[in-house]
Amino acid sequence: MSEIKYSSAELMIINAARLLRDGDVVFVGVGQPNLACNLAKRTHAPNLVMIYEAGVIGAEPARLPLSIGDPTLVSGSLSVVSMYDIFTNYLQRGNVDVGFMGGAQIDKYGNINATVIGGYDSPKVRLPGSGGSQEIAAWANRCYIMTPHQKRRFPEKVEFMTSAGFIGGRGDREKAGLRGGGMLAVVTDIGIMEPDESGEMMLTQLHPGKTSEEARANTGWDLKSASSVGTTDPVTESELRILRDELDPTGIYLKGAS
């Protein structure tokens, strides 16, 4: 039996897909989150409903979507509504189960910076900004992020809080009255981090062959480990085949790590 080879992107996508449950309504971005959702839909979650901030509900893209507003998301979808409606009637109203987040930095409490490095008024690096992520982080029932495990991506505290995880701890999130459960898993190429009772991200699972030392060395805060750190199930040939042959045959999103 030959060893299965996969990229770190494939590893993260496959592990993110496994976090989705059948029937989930998922607020999806393009790229890796889109692949994770489509993979879940073709394996254990056939009734997954994908919705996009562009206003598309129940997309069944016939080709790999290359932007959040790709026309393939529209043709054959269940419903297309205005942006105001998708943010009010769906997201703010509490009709979204899962949100996939992105961002340049994520900190110890699962807060995200997608806005700026350096001061806000005189930015050193100006990032794209929130888009829909400020509201997804607040109101989706469960939030997940996929990101390579690198120290610069995981500072102790984000320089600018674009989207709230547990803010300064779970109490802060409750005080703000946010309806969603917050950042419930950070899937990296080393393992998975999940919040402890205080909302601090701790290492709960490692991918086969990875170590908690690697995870700690690549995290900007003093990363704690769960009392028993699990190992993620190995990537299967079937998962890889769906990803590579059906979902992203030209490898646009599968090759890199970011």
Binding site: E53, S67, M83, E135
Partner: protein
Amino acid sequence: MTKVLALSEAIAKFVNDGDTVYAAGFTHLIPFAAGHEIIRQGKKNLTLARATPDLIYDQMVAAGCAKKVIFSYMGNPGVGSLRIVRSAIEKGQLEWDEYSHFGMITRLQAGASGLPFLPMNQTGAADLEKANPNIKRIADPFGGKDVIVVPALNPDVAIVHVQRADANGNSHLWGIIGEQKEAAFAAKKVIVTAEEIVDESVIRSDPNRTMISEIVVSTVCHVPFACHPSYAQGYYDRDNEFYLAWDKVSESAEATKQYLDDWVFGVKDRNEYWQKLGAETHKRLEVPDLMSEPINYGRY
């Protein structure tokens, strides 16, 4: 009482230096033709508002039309950074006013509604609230949590591209409708550009599809392929290759200038632009038909 004008006349008549312009369309239906015409006419000191500035505002900023942007996501969608707007902000050459998507759209919805402001629930992410005095917090008079409020945005002019409109501006649009309706009702003047100008009877055959009516439209321009490199659902595809190519072009001021010289100043109008793109590109962006099931309104 037709409102049909050539796009060049419409821009000359309805867009003034110093205006706040909302060129609407979330990824879809982005009115590039109107943006290029604004560049050709050398409009200045515009405040450019859009949820996602996209390449259209990158080009208008590069051409020196803008003094300020209002936005909620400043990226090249599906590619990465929006180099020219970003660099102008980093260098302090461009004012900006920033929201989340929901904040931006809420501002437009308030403007479209004739309200001074609209509320949103708290998100816990207060840094933008601290940075932007337009984002305020008020008490819920019914005793719940405080809410966030943003003021109405009422642009001087909205530019909205649609698939089909009649000569008075009654417009059918479909696919991703983003903030098209909100922009049209929020603005003081509305320029509609359309893939097709159709007889009023086509519009009246499906009134539930009419998202923007003549009551708010200032002028209608017949501009096929107005959205390239963006797209019009059912008419042509998004040119992803162009979005990738812009990532390179916009790295260099020279290449950007060359692009504007060749593709904006170097053509008279959108028709010339489209012809210049050539048969291969036309073919690449073609899309086979996929028709909706009609509905029955009944002859009452």
